[in-house]
């Protein structure tokens, strides 16, 4: 599954990034040459840029995004594009979105975006769309069909209820453990659109779907959840190779449901505990998930990160770049028929910080 040259690329790339050197010349261009169906893209997510007052922003979150952008720019070979997984802002303020986009403007190459709930619920996405365009769309790249969905919508009557202010509504949604929280959903309109969009795609075309929330049900209490996940999955079912990449959860999650592989992205801002660490409620973490290392609060970038993604033969390998941690790779294993952590998947290979309680 992995040829040596690729492993070398990862290893040296990882060491280099961890060391924080800006020289990238020693990284070998080991793959991509001649293989039409192999390419990479970078995936950055969940920066939660927070305005304190005026031009003061929370330093910690700024640092996370700045670092991810700087490191993504070091990738060699160059990724074909960058994907941003949502939650640029904390409270969806234009100042926060602008400040985030200013930092993201430092990225070399094209960036695609998906909407996060922290971008949306202040003005129902108006400012985000003004800056970035439609919140659901598709594009084709080197034989792969990419679909972007806004999966963080909720019940219409809740969104359009008489709120004192948009900020009121945002604060309800921004609180992850809100006991009055509303479930995320893609909704009828987008599902109809998706159905039509997929009609023109042949069944053996690899599909990669980007959403902010997981298009599967893991834990409703923290909205690691999309209410109409099964209906979206049903639309994706006829295709041979489907991968869903999502943000929102601020942690590594891996799953396979039928033909669909699921992989999550780390946040650049802060990590979240796994729902199982909350004692009072049951959750459904996919068994394939190998927990990220438990965060050490004393290193502010610990358990945060970003990822670069290697697409080959329509399968997706996610390389997690984790400052203050060993980088990880979760790659599709053709034999097993699902993604596996290339180092830690076997129970005996787990390390103590991956064992949460």
């Amino acid at each position: 599954m992995h040829d040596n040259s690729r492993r070398k690329f990862l290893k040296q790339g990882g060491a280099l990034l961890a060391a924080g050197t800006l020289s990238i010349s020693v990284v070998e261009l080991a793959f991509g040459k001649g293989s039409e169906d192999r390419f990479t893209f970078a995936y950055i997510s969940d920066s939660h840029i927070t305005q304190i007052k005026g031009n003061r922003f929370v330093r910690n979150w700024d640092r996370g995004l700045i670092r991810a952008v700087a490191e993504a720019n070091l990738l060699d070979p160059r990724p074909d594009f960058v994907f941003y997984g949502g939650d640029i802002a904390q409270l969806g303020k234009p100042e926060e979105i602008d400040h985030g986009l200013e930092m993201l403007a430092g990225l070399r190459g094209k960036v695609h975006y998906v909407m996060g709930e922290h971008d949306y619920y202040l003005d129902l996405g108006d400012y985000w769309r003004k800056q970035l365009g439609p919140d659901h769309y598709s594009f084709d790249h080197k034989g792969v069909h990419f679909v972007v969905l806004n999966s963080i919508l909720t019940h219409e009557n809740w969104m359009h209820r008489k709120w004192d202010s948009g900020m009121d509504r945002m604060k309800q949604m921004a609180r992850l453990d809100n006991p009055n929280g509303q479930p995320f959903m893609v909704g009828d309109t987008q599902r109809d659109w998706l159905k039509k969009d997929l009609e023109k795609v042949s069944k053996n075309t690899p599909i990669v779907v980007f959403s902010h929330s997981p298009l599967q049900k893991i834990y409703k209490g923290w909205n690691f959840w999309t209410d109409d996940a099964e209906q979206v999955q049903a639309l994706l079912k006829p295709f041979d190779k489907v991968t869903v990449l999502y943000g929102h959860v601020h942690q590594i999650q891996t799953n396979q449901i039928g033909n669909i592989s699921f992989q999550s992205a780390m946040a650049t801002a802060w990590p979240w505990p796994y729902p199982a660490t909350y004692k009072q409620q049951a959750s459904y973490m996919p068994k394939l998930t190998v927990d990220m290392n438990r965060a050490d609060p004393f290193f502010e970038r610990d358990a945060t990160g970003w990822q670069f993604i290697d697409v080959h033969s329509g399968r997706v390998d996610v390389n997690y770049l984790l400052p203050d941690n060993t980088n990880r790779t979760v790659a599709f294993d053709e034999k097993a028929g699902h993604p596996v952590d290339t180092k830690y998947q076997a129970e005996v290979n787990r390390i103590p910080p991956q064992k949460h309680y």
Partner: protein, 138 residues
Amino acid sequence: MTYRKTYRTLLAAASMLMVVQTAPVQADEFSDEDLARWQQEYLSVVGQGDKLFHGGLSSKNTVSCDQCHPNAANTHPETYPKFQRQLGRVVALWEMINWCIQNPLESELLAADDPRMIALQAYIVEERRGAVLEPGKH
């Protein structure tokens, strides 16, 4: 005769019991009302802690505890006191709370007996109820 004697003894015993019941409350006795009141006092402090944890603590950079610890997850109160490598010693729960107040929240430390510190601990421990005490465990 015997009957009457027994009766008298019983009466005496009963009146002694009555005396005990109407005597001033002794230290080891409490009623259902007491229990209800104590629970209610406790829960009201848990409620204050819940609010502080979810943005009620004045935070210099607006960041709040729940952003990183939804439902106070990953606060592991049952493992305290324990050794914290970077502090270089065994610390109590409130010291680690202060660490998070000072660093992620970039805010002022709270005194150990500050009612807000007590409320934060009450909320954290309440969310973790049922966990087995494992002092020292990392």
